[in-house]
Assembly symmetry: D2
Homo-oligomer: 356 residues x 4
C-alpha cells in the first residue's frame, strides 16, 4: 500500500493538503512507552512552515491531536492515530490546477492516475504538507531510539552550488540554519535569497547519520538497510537521489581505496574508514550509518512556465500564485531524520525476533 511503511511497526499516512485533517496511524508500537509530547512538538516545529525568510508564509501550528493508542501519554499497545487539522488553506490559489498541471509537480500524473476526482487542491495527497505526519511518526521513533542509545543527526550538505564543509559529527538541530560550517551556511542562505528574489527556487542535499547503532541490523537482499531507508526517503517529495557512505564517488575508486579495513578499538571490531556508510551486505557494521539525499528545487516558482490544458490539449503559459518555499531543503532536514528513525526502529524490532 502506497502510503504505508514498515513491517514491524507500520505507519499509514493519510490526508490531503486541503482535507479536514492529515495524520498518521502507527501499528506495532510497543506498549508502555512514554511519549514526550513537548519534545515531539519541538521536533515538529523544525519542519513547520512560516518560521523564517526561506520558507512559505503559510502558518500552521501543526499541533497533533492523539485520538487513539495512548493512555495518558504512554503507548498502550493499540494502534496510535494522531491528526493535524488543516487550518490556513486558500483553495482558490489552486483552482487553475484542475486543468493546467504545474511542471515538476504531480498534478499531471495524478490526473492520469486518478482522473477528474483527484484532490488537486494544494497538491492533495502529494503535498509536501504530508511530511508533517511523517515527522510525527518519526519524532516518536526518535524518542524510542534515544532510549536505546541511538541518535539521528543531519545537516544541509549542499544548497545550489554551495557545499557545507567539515564532517557531520554532532547534531545541528539547535542551529537556526543546520550546517556544520556556518560560513558556508551564510553562503547557502544567499543562494536561496537570490533565487527567491528572481521568483525562482533552488535544490540541495541533506546528509544524515545514525549513531549508536548495534552491528547486525538489517537483512540481506531486499531488506538491507539501504533498501529500507531508500523506500522511505524516496517517499519524501522532491528526493531524486540517494547514496550511502561514499556513494557515487565509489564509482571512481579502486577497491584498495574503497574497502574499509577492519581494526579493533576498545575491544570492539571497527572499520578504519567508513566508505560503506556503516552498511555491509545490507547489514549495519556498528559504524555510523551515513546517507545523503538529493532534493530537486521547489517546483512551484513565480516565473512563467509552459504547461498544457489537460481538457483541450492546448499548450499554455502558467503563472503559479500563492506562497511557496524558494528552497525546501532547510525544512526537509527533520523530515529526513524522521524517515531514518522510522526505518531504523523498524529494523531494530525485526532484529529482536532473532534474539532468544
Amino acid at each position: 500500500m502506497s502510503s504505508s511503511y514498515g513491517e514491524n511497526i507500520r505507519l499509514t499516512i493519510f490526508g490531503q493538503s486541503h482535507s479536514p485533517a492529515i495524520g498518521v496511524t502507527i501499528e506495532g508500537l510497543p506498549a508502555g512507552e512514554e511519549i514526550d509530547l513537548e519534545a515531539l512538538q519541538r521536533f515538529l516545529a523544525r519542519r513547520a512552515p512560516g518560521q523564517n525568510a526561506w520558507s512559505t508564509a503559510r502558518r500552521e501550528a501543526d499541533e497533533p491531536e492523539f485520538v487513539s493508542g495512548l493512555t495518558g501519554s504512554v503507548t498502550c499497545g493499540a494502534p496510535l492515530t494522531a491528526l493535524i487539522r488543516n487550518g490556513d488553506t486558500r483553495s482558490k490559489d489552486y483552482s487553475l490546477l484542475a486543468r493546467l498541471p504545474r511542471p515538476g509537480h504531480a498534478d499531471y500524473t495524478a490526473f492520469v492516475k486518478y482522473g477528474e476526482h483527484r484532490d488537486y487542491a494544494g497538491g492533495g495527497h502529494f503535498s509536501g504538507r504530508l511530511t508533517a505526519p511523517l515527522c510525527l511518526a518519526g519524532g516518536i521513533c526518535l524518542q524510542l531510539l534515544a532510549r536505546e542509545g541511538i541518535h539521528v543527526i543531519s545537516r544541509i550538505a549542499q544548497i545550489g552550488p554551495v557545499c557545507d564543509r567539515g564532517e557531520l559529527l554532532a547534531s545541528t538541530a539547535e542551529k537556526p540554519f543546520p550546517v556544520v560550517d556556518d560560513e558556508q551556511g551564510e553562503a547557502m542562505r544567499a543562494v536561496i535569497a537570490a533565487a527567491k528574489a528572481e521568483g525562482d527556487s533552488v535544490g540541495g542535499i541533506v546528509e544524515c547519520a545514525v549513531l549508536g547503532l548495534p552491528a547486525g541490523l538489517g537483512d540481506p537482499m531486499f531488506d538491507g538497510m539501504e533498501n529500507r531507508i531508500a523506500r522511505i526517503v524516496f517517499g519524501i517529495p522532491a528526493v531524486k537521489g540517494l547514496e550511502f557512505g561514499a556513494g557515487f564517488s565509489l564509482a571512481a575508486m579502486r577497491g584498495s581505496e574503497a574497502n574499509d579495513a577492519f581494526a579493533v578499538r576498545d575491544g570492539r571490531v571497527v572499520t578504519e574508514t567508513n566508505h560503506c556508510g556503516g552498511i555491509l551486505g545490507g547489514i549495519t557494521d556498528g559504524m555510523p550509518l551515513v546517507f545523503r539525499a538529493a532534493f530537486k528545487p521547489t517546483p512551484s516558482i513565480a516565473k512563467e512556465q509552459r504547461s498544457v490544458d489537460l481538457l483541450t490539449l492546448e499548450e499554455k503559459a502558467l503563472v503559479i500564485e500563492g506562497r511557496h518555499d524558494p528552497c525546501i531543503v532547510p525544512r526537509a532536514v527533520p523530515v529526513v531524520e524522521a524517515a531514518a528513525a522510522i526505518a531504523v526502529y523498524d529494523a531494530l524490532l525485526e532484529q529482536r525476533k532473532d534474539a532468544r
Copy 2:
C-alpha cells in the same frame, strides 16, 4: 522478508554460493504466458561469469531447471520455481573467512547476525551469484513487458574515472562492451585491465532506461516508482547510490531549469526535458524512466588487506585468493535491467486493479 520482492508478482530468491542450488520462486505470474526459454538463456548468458578478460574465471552454465509453474513452456498460474545448480565451487578458497572477514564484504556483518552457523563459503546468500536467479525472474518480466511495448535498455555510464558519452537511446545489449561511445568503452576496459594488473578492482555506474511506459504507473509516497526501483536495485550487491533523471545534479539547479515544461506532441502530453527521469510524484509521466546506479569496486582484491580475527580479536593481514572480477559493472548491466523489469512489471499489475 528480506529475500522477497513485489506485491503483485512476488519473487523469493534462495540459495547460497555453495549450496546445492540457487533459484527463485515467482508467485503471481499470469497464466497463459509463453516463456521463450532460449531468449531467457541468452539473457542469463549476459550475466554469466567466465566470458571474457574482465570477469572471473569461474565458469557456470547457469542453465535453469523449471520444477514448477509451467505446462510445457507456458505459465499455468501456479508459483514458478526454477533452480540453477551450483557446480564449479571451490570451497577451500573460502576457509579463512570463517575467522577473517574480507573488508568491503558481508562476512563480518553475517557473522554478527547469524553467528557461527552462517554459510560463509563463497559469501553464502550474500554472494553476487544470487543475481543469477534475479536475472532469471527479470528475464521473464522483460518478455512479458515487451508484449506490452515496454523495453528496458541500459549501458555502462562510468568505469573508474571514465564516463560514457552520448545519450542512452537504444539497447547496447548486443555489444561486447555495452556503452554508447565505443571509444570510451575502450578507455574503460583499459581502466579495468590496469586495476587487474595491480591486483586491484574498480567501480562504476550503470544507467538504465525503461521505454514505452504508459503514464500513471506507480503510487504516491512509499510505493512510487523511485521507491519500488530503489528497493530492488539496492538488493544488487555493491550498489551504494541511486538517482533518477538528473538526480544529484538537481541539487545545484534552479527550479526554472529543473522543471520539465509540458508540451503536446502528436496529440500526447510530453515534457520537453526529462530531468525528473519520467517520474512525478512517484508516478510515471509517459517519458522514459531513467535511473543510474553506482557500484563500488569489487571488494575481493588480490592486494593484502587488514582484517580482524573474529575469534581472538587480533588484527591480521588478509590475502584473498580465488577468482574475482576486477570490475563487476559489465556483468551487472543485465542485472540492473532485470531489477528494473521486475519493479516495472509489478507496478503494471498494480495499475490494472484501478481499471474497470
Copy 3:
C-alpha cells in the same frame, strides 16, 4: 499487522473503547467512487447500540467524520480516514478490571501481552465497539459491490437452542429482528429476554450469503475465499467457529452426497446443490457464497463470577456492573455483512490484475 486487513484495499482500525475516537483508514479505494453517506449511516445504525430491548443502553450516534480521502462525497484515490468520536463513556464502570479480569474477555490476555499500560477501560482496543469502524469500511465496500451486481445478505440462524427455519434467499435487513421465519425470531427473542432476566447472556449463529459473485474469485491455498473470509470474520469479537456451505455436517456425509453436480442453466455452468458454499479450491464457482459464524454468549454478565486478582494472585469473586447486551448476535448481523463485503471486494480487486 494485527488491526489491518486486505491486500488490495487495506483497512486499519484504530481506537479504544474510551479513547477520544475510534476509526478506520482505508487505502486502495479506487478514485471516483461516490459514497452515499446517508445509506452508510443507515447501515451503521443497524449495528449501533441502544436501539431496543436486547441491546446495551449505551447510546451513541456513531456518526463518522471523514477527515481525508474524499473530495465532496467522492473518493479521490488517497487514503480515506473516518473517525467516530467516543462520547458516552463511563470509565468508572471499568476501574476494577485493572486487577480483576472478566472471564471470557481479553482483560487477562491483554494484561499479559501489554502489561500495566494496556488501556483496559471498556475493553480498550478489544471492545466490541471497534466493530463500528469495521462496519464503516464494510458499508463502503457494500456500496461498491452493489455497483457490480454483488449483494451481501444475512440472518440470525440460531440464538441459544432456537434455530431459524427456511433458506436465506433475500435480505432480512429491513426486519426489526433479522430472521427468515419470524415465528422462530419470536422464540429467539424470548430466549434473550430469559437470559437477560437472569443476569445472563446467550450465544448464537449468523448466516451470511454473497449473491451475484462471478466465478473465479479467490486464490489457491492460503488466499482462498475461505481463508480471506476467515481472517476477517475471526476478527469480530466473540466469533469462535466458522463454516462454509454444509460445513461441519460434511464430516458425516458421503462424497456422492456432498459433491455438487455440475449442470447448465441458461447457458451457464451451475451446481445443482451448494454444499461447498460456492467455493471450490478456494475459488468462487458462481453460486452463492454461504458461510455461518458462531458467536459465544456475551461474556459480560451480571451474575457473580470467579476471577483472580492479577496483582496478588488471590482468587476473588467478580460482579460486573455497567450496561451490556444479553446477546450480541442481533447487532453482529451487519458486522458479519461488513466483514464479508470487505473480503469479497478485496478479492475482486485482486482478480482484476489477471484481466487484460
Copy 4:
C-alpha cells in the same frame, strides 16, 4: 500471495501434482537450528500415501532434497528450500479433466481462473499432494517448538457418523489409527471400508491441541490466534469448517456456562474450563489451544457423477478412474499438526519483538 503464509517466517509452497517437483521455500528461520532430518522424514511418512487400506495406492517416498538454507543439517539464516520430486504420476488418468470438471474439485474454478493453460493433471497446484511441502515446513516448526516446550497433538475426532470418545490429552501419533478410543477407531475404519466398497468416500473431523504455549501469543483483531490458524488451516484442501474450544456449541450456551472462570494453580493463573480453546481476544491464555477442522468427503469417487463439458456446455456423465483415498482424514492428521505448528511458531517470533 496465495501460496505464501506467515509474517515472521514466511513459507511459499510451489509445485503441481505432476510437475517435476513440489516444494517449499521458508524465509525467516533463525540461524543455528539443527534440523533432525530423520525425525522430519518420519513425520512426513505419517502423511505419505500408500501405507494402508484406507489410502490411495500411489506410492511415493516423499524424501525431501534440501537445496538451500542449511550448512550441514543446521539452518544458516538464508532461505531454506526443499524439493520433493514427483515420481509416480500417471497423467493419462486425468486427461478427461481438461473438459469435464470433477464435482467437488477445483477443476472448474481453475478453468475459470487460469483458462486453458492451467495445469489440470492431478489437480495441479490444487492437489492434496501439495500438503507434503506443508508438512515439511510444519515438521521443521514442530522441532523448533518442541525446543521451547511446546507440543502439538491431534486425533481423528469423527469419521462419517462415528465420533471418537474421551479427551485429547496426549499424542496419538504412534497409533496406526490416531484416535483416543481405539474401539471408536475400529468403527471409523469400518465406515471407511464401507464407503470404499461402494466406490464412495466419507468425511470427518480432526481435533488438534497445542500444549505448553505461553500466555500472550497472538494479536488483537485480524492477527489473533484464531485468524492465524484459520488462514492456514483453510489452506488444507477439503477443510470447510473450523472451530475453537467449544466452537459452534457455544451458540447454545449461556454466558454463565461458557465463560471460563479464572483460578490460580501452582502460582499460575489458569481457567477452570477451556470453552474458549485457550484463546481470549485472539491471544493465548496459557491453557491448551484447541481447535477442530471439518473435512468434506474425498471428492474423487468411483461412482458416476454429473458434470458439464466445458467446451460444448453439454451435461455429461463422469466416471473418475485412478487411485483415491476413500477418506483423507487419517492422512490429514499430520497436515493439521503441521499447519498449527507453522501458525504458532510464526506468532511466537512475533511476540519476541515485544520483548526487551
